[in-house]
Symmetry: C2
Subunit: 359 residues, 2 copies
């Protein structure tokens, strides 16, 4: 089997051509020559950048190039265990880069450097690994970050489910930016940048071979550009969080608890695709709990809400942005969904298992 013939690589990549095996073996995780060849041939080739090239055990950067007086550093980590690895609209590699970029960006940070730790199951196809590395590099380039350090481990067959990725990230929060869940205030407006539940339904469909009339693709995307646009229109964003596992319901509950306020949602204003609604009705699931991979919830002061919404809608990652609710002092620590008939119900955090399991 010749991986080289069938596997696209990042255009900046160089190939040592030393990895000819069709599948990953335990030797590829040994720390020795086989591992070095795999790392050079797959990851260094795809992620090619000056910090990674020396293959020291750590990447190094001059702080003067990175930040100025008063700036803060943001640091985050996430593991990705999604099944299947490739799904409509993305793959685990893109997810891992975008997820960590977004966890940095919602603090107001400019994401800069990512690390990538890979746990591989013996027997994993090298061609799939190349495809995932190339996808990571495309996502990193799109978000303006560099993957600067990494690690590769191989576990025996049956020891792990194909491939897990852990990305960590470092970003710089410019002086003066203060975004925190505790800052939600009565009167503030709640915005989202797009439709709810796409990622969850895309994974569900890929896993269970659901034949959807209108296919739904994952919303995986970097949010840092959108957040820059949002902050330009509304410099004092109070809260920002991306609604991944646990869904939008969980993020809004986190705001409610952290700030001791009530979040009031207008059900009719929630952007949900018809297909997602349909799947949810058939399966008895609530889109508010589906995971998303490119959805953020923003809490902004009322006088900047319209400008913030317009700025989001003008950005490719915010075309379906909507104003979905408002903050009130009561009920403290609760999220209320107001339905079309004047009624309302408490939307709790996700309790129990998330369906579908997606990250």
């Amino acid at each position: 089997m010749n991986d080289a013939a069938s596997t696209p690589l990042s255009p900046i990549g160089r190939r040592s051509g030393r990895v000819r095996d069709g599948t990953v073996t335990l030797a590829h995780g040994s720390g020795g020559k086989a591992m070095r060849d795999l790392v050079d041939d797959v990851f260094v080739a795809a992620f090619d950048n000056p910090a990674l090239a020396p293959l020291e055990d750590q990447a190094r950067f001059a702080l003067a190039d990175l930040a100025r007086d008063g700036d803060r550093l943001a640091f985050t980590t996430d593991s990705y265990v999604v099944d299947p690895l490739f799904f409509p609209g993305g793959d685990i590699g893109e997810l891992a880069v975008n997820g960590t970029v977004n966890d940095l960006a919602v603090s107001g940070a400019r994401p800069r450097f990512l690390s990538c730790a890979v746990i591989l199951e013996e027997g994993f196809p090298v061609a799939d690994l190349r495809r995932i590395a190339a996808s990571m590099q495309r996502a990193a380039a799109a978000a303006g970050v560099a993957i600067v350090t990494g690690d590769t481990k191989v576990v025996p067959r049956g020891g792990a489910d194909k491939l897990f990725l852990t990305t960590s990230g470092v970003g710089v929060i410019p002086a003066g930016v203060q975004i925190a869940a505790t800052r939600a205030r009565p009167g503030d407006r709640v915005l989202v940048n797009g439709c709810i539940g796409d990622h969850g339904v895309a994974i569900l469909a890929a896993r269970d071979d659901l034949a959807l009339e209108v296919p739904v693709t994952s919303d995986t995307r970097p949010l840092n550009g959108l957040i820059d646009a949002l902050r330009e229109a509304c410099p004092d964003v109070h809260c920002l969080r991306d609604a991944t596992r646990g869904g939008l319901a969980t993020v809004l509950n986190e705001f409610a608890r952290a700030a001791g306020i009530g979040v009031h949602l207008d059900e009719a204003a929630l952007p949900v695709r018809e297909t997602v609604k349909g799947v949810s009705e058939i399966l008895g699931l609530d889109p508010l709990y589906y995971a998303n991979e490119g959805l953020l919830a923003a809490v902004v002061p009322p006088d900047r809400a319209e400008a913030a919404l317009a700025a989001m809608r003008a950005h490719p990652a915010g075309r379906d942005a909507a104003l979905i609710g408002e903050i009130d002092s009561a009920p403290a620590g609760r999220v209320i969904l107001h339905t079309g008939f004047g009624g309302g119900r408490i939307v709790d955090m996700l309790v129990g298992e998330q369906l579908p399991r997606i990250c």
Copy 2:
């Protein structure tokens, strides 16, 4: 089963007492309430520190507190998949903290902040998780670092081998420090801080129930304090690397290749315990390829070698330190082991699978 009764916790920990389950369930990875309870009850309780407490999706620090003009940032990541999780001399949690501390420290960085991403198999005992979290916190405190951000994922039974950890780390390299594999020069001396192969043999013994007359324990330990002492005695350390997977042989080959020099080792000078020698002879394995978790190789200028050795021996992590060899211009890119009979052999990088598999 009552975990609370049997599980020691870090003395600084607070316990919410909300996690009563005996084992981890998929709900604990859901992103919702169950996960929050687990994270609060196990990790936040153990790692308790101001950066972690807000449970935002990222930790944030003022750069002014972290570094000064001319300093550089070091950033590293490693996954830990060791089996068994608990072994003579340590456990996976201690290993994960020390390993990332050491990957930072060998750049000359002062390790500061760690992240911790956990992938759990459904059914994992919560008591073991608490034990590992407590062990991570003890190791972090010993190394002077804080675990400031994290992530928890749960995969279905059979989807992962019990528990994997990925730790990433950020440290600060003081202005002027230039440690790199490329800096080895003819005449330089090669030092190690301790005995070779202890970790590999400890894992082997734990896994295969080897009955050793003199038990061998893992050498897992933080090296940052030792490196501070070494750099005080020898400010211009040329190369430093910790010899983990691939063993000392692989690290020395990395020096040889990066600098285009020859590394000449004196077999008689290599510190190897009698038990490790014995096990190796019986099994036909070479201690130079065993993994270590607290062993560093240092290349220093000849005029500071004795001072460097004395400084290492005066530190608890360097009591068995030894001068094991010398750098020459030839053979470029090679490591030669000189045996007691005037002979010598090429020591290559590890090729193929590492035995025993240990990280």
